[in-house]
């Protein structure tokens, strides 16, 4: 291998090292420290001027106390579980909403497809924060949704949607829907229409042809879409804090509070490390399926 090629391959590794491993190392180190009233608000801090004994002293003071603490307080594992549940349910909801949209786009006349694609991507052009705020205007007790429902006479009293898990589901599904639609659309659009005709020709009804042919063939898109929604949803902070109120417990919110309200950096770091470990499993699974799909396509 020439030096040039090695350098080329080295760049992404360097990138990973700088932007992932180094921050990870720093966070991990903080998670092993103790809280103190200082700047930065943890101890020990590494002071290289004292040489070897200093480093040894520093290492001796690190421990897994914070991790033990996380297991002792029920709040944390409840928050993890609740985040997992909310992420899982949102992913399923996004799939149920996104699949028909992707299917409709793939079945639309070819000249319409770029426009439809545009409509899916369009929300990205405004700030995520503003879009979530807009949902407050829709979902609150005096919001548009309640006004509308009262106006058509469906309900007498306004519904309490804001500050409930429902609002969080709405927010997450809304925000991450494009990540579900786009990969599914990509697989559906690539599918050869004559496969469905062949299935029909061999005795399938339209509906069973969908379940036997279309659905399995869009599996790779479904898997990609689900991971793309699930992984960011689990650590979501903005949506539960703006729409979920105090009623929803999510690990992202706990993390925020540890950092900024309690200024307990070590515990917050431990929370973050555990979250990362939880996410590593689906991320590895995701990579595996991606690789498998690439092999199948080749």
């Amino acid at each position: 291998m020439t030096i040039g090629r090695r350098a080329l391959i080295g760049i992404p590794y360097l990138w990973l090292l700088l932007l992932f491993l180094v921050p990870f190392g720093i966070i991990f180190k903080i998670s092993l420290s103790d809280i103190t009233l200082a700047i930065p608000p943890y101890t020990p801090t590494l002071d290289l001027s004292e040489g070897w004994p200093g480093i040894r002293d520093f290492l001796r003071q690190l421990d897994f106390e914070n991790y033990v603490f996380l297991t002792e307080d029920a709040l944390y594992w409840k928050a993890y579980l609740s985040s997992l549940r909310i992420a899982l349910v949102s992913t399923l909801l996004a799939l149920c909403v996104g699949y028909p949209i992707a299917y409709g786009m793939a079945r639309a006349a070819p000249e319409w497809r770029p426009t439809l694609m545009m409509l899916v991507i369009l929300p990205f052009w405004t700030s995520f924060l503003i879009r979530v705020y807009a949902w407050i205007g829709i979902l609150s007790t005096e919001g548009y949704l309640n006004q509308f429902l009262q106006w058509i006479g469906l309900i007498a009293e306004p519904l309490q949607i804001m500050n409930t898990p429902t609002a969080v589901y709405v927010g997450i599904v809304y925000t991450y829907l494009p990540f579900m639609i786009l990969p599914i659309y990509a697989t559906l659009e690539r599918m050869d229409d004559s496969l469905l005709e062949a299935a029909e020709d061999l005795g399938c009804s339209r509906l069973s042809a969908f379940w036997i042919i279309t659905f399995p063939l869009s599996r790779s898109g479904i898997i990609a879409g689900c991971f793309l929604v699930f992984i960011p949803a689990i650590g979501e902070f903005v949506i539960p804090s703006l729409l979920g109120g105090s009623g929803t417990l999510m690990i992202g919110k706990v993390l925020w509070e540890e950092f900024f309200s309690n200024r307990d950096w070590p515990v917050a770091s431990a929370v973050a490390i555990i979250l990362l470990l939880i996410l590593v499993i689906p991320i590895i699974l995701f990579q595996k399926t991606l690789e498998k799909n690439q092999e199948a396509d080749a």
Binding site: S194, D201, L217
Partner: protein, 382 residues
């Protein structure tokens, strides 16, 4: 070159000549329009049981559309299609005893060869325990036993094509539609597969309708050929008759190599025609084609292999012209001489090279005589 050697099948198979036979498929004044474009134009067609029927025509003439109407993927704008005396209007593809082998094969990529072949059987009323036997039979017929467990992307193009055939045949349909089934194969494999197809068709006694734009293929496999142009069926006949007695200049020109000479026709009482084709040249005497009227503008058509070439003026023939060799195409088994006639027309004459390195026949710029019998060529209207 074109060969009219489909005579491999028994000569007596000709249900279209037997008034007692009823056709399996009938197209009655069928028209299909896409918007204001007419893809199939007022087609009448009858196809009989056990026939190997070929639809032949240039690209875009409506062959696939005709086929898709039989399978149920398109509905006729006008007219009636019946299969086994049942009107097909409104019957969806999954309820027709018709199976189609798709041009792109359309194999299900996520299913194994075995499951692809079993696909239709699982959705039929066949008993579950009978399915493996039937699949095995199909695998044997198409010589795919070794590949049963593979996925479509793990087999070759030719094998894929055989899977598509096996899958379409598995349900033992009344009618099998094949849309350019051999399009993706190289010439050698193609020829071999044509014979396999004929063999399978005979063994299974299924009615085959094949779409092709390769005339040689149509001539090889088919019991009858329909030549189409612009959504219309121009002629339906056996390969030999299509080749020897085309009903129009279009068909004559489309099938095989042909010499065309335009002129004015005069009908003679004995069924022959005189064609005045050039100032001062002797009139051509030939057989009258279908629908030729006296005194009309007409074309004389003759196949190059029916034109004899000689150095001396031949005796005892009515049709003799002299010319100069303009070009020679040596094709190994035959040679085609392009001879320039005094009027400037080019006439092709073919000879069989049945002797290896025989005395060199003719060469460029030789003065030669071309001749043919009165019945060798046809005069067709137009």
């Amino acid at each position: 070159m074109t060969s009219a050697v489909a005579a491999a099948r028994p000569a007596e198979f000709a249900p279209w000549n037997d008034p007692a036979q009823t056709p399996l498929i009938r197209f009655e004044n069928v028209t299909k329009r896409f918007g204001d474009f007419t893809a199939v134009d007022d087609v009448d067609l009858a196809i009989y049981r056990k026939e190997f029927f070929a639809l032949l025509g240039p690209s875009g003439c409506g062959k696939t559309t005709l086929m898709r109407m039989l399978a149920g993927f398109e509905t006729a704008t006008e007219g009636r299609i019946t299969i086994g005396d049942e009107d097909m209007a409104g019957i969806p593809p999954n309820r027709r005893e018709v199976n189609m082998m798709f041009q792109s094969y359309a194999l299900f990529p996520h299913l194994s060869v075995w499951d692809n072949i079993a696909f239709g059987l699982k959705r039929s009323d066949m008993a579950k325990d009978k399915i493996p036997d039937r699949v095995q039979e199909m695998l044997r017929l198409t010589r795919l036993e070794k590949f049963a467990r593979r996925k479509p992307h793990q087999i070759s193009g030719g094998q894929r094509q055989r899977v598509a055939l096996a899958r379409a045949l598995a349900k033992a349909p009344k009618l099998l539609l094949l849309d350019e089934p051999l399009g993706a194969l190289d010439a050698k494999l193609r020829q071999q597969t044509q014979f396999e197809l004929m063999d399978i068709q005979e063994k299974t006694e299924t009615t085959f309708v094949i779409v092709t734009h390769d005339q040689e293929e149509a001539m090889t496999v088919a019991s009858r050929v329909a030549v189409m142009d612009n959504g219309k069926v121009i002629q339906v006949d056996t390969p030999a008759r299509i080749y020897e007695t085309p009903n129009s200049v279009y068909v004559a020109d489309f099938i095989g190599d042909v010499n065309l000479i335009e002129g004015n026709a005069t009908l003679k009482p004995d069924g022959l025609v005189r064609l005045a084709w050039a100032e001062g040249a002797p009139e051509i005497i030939a057989t009258a084609g279908e629908g030729l009227t006296d005194g009309a503008r007409a074309s004389f058509v003759i196949r190059p292999e029916k034109v004899a070439i000689s150095a001396e003026r031949p005796e005892g023939r009515n049709n003799v012209v002299q010319g100069r060799i303009h070009d020679i195409a040596y094709l190994g088994n035959i040679s085609t001489y392009h001879v320039e006639l005094p009027g400037g027309q080019i006439m092709k004459a073919q000879t069989v090279n049945n002797r290896r390195q025989s005395r060199r026949g003719f060469t460029w710029d030789d003065e030669v005589w071309l001749s043919w019998t009165d019945t060798a060529g046809l005069v067709l209207a137009g």
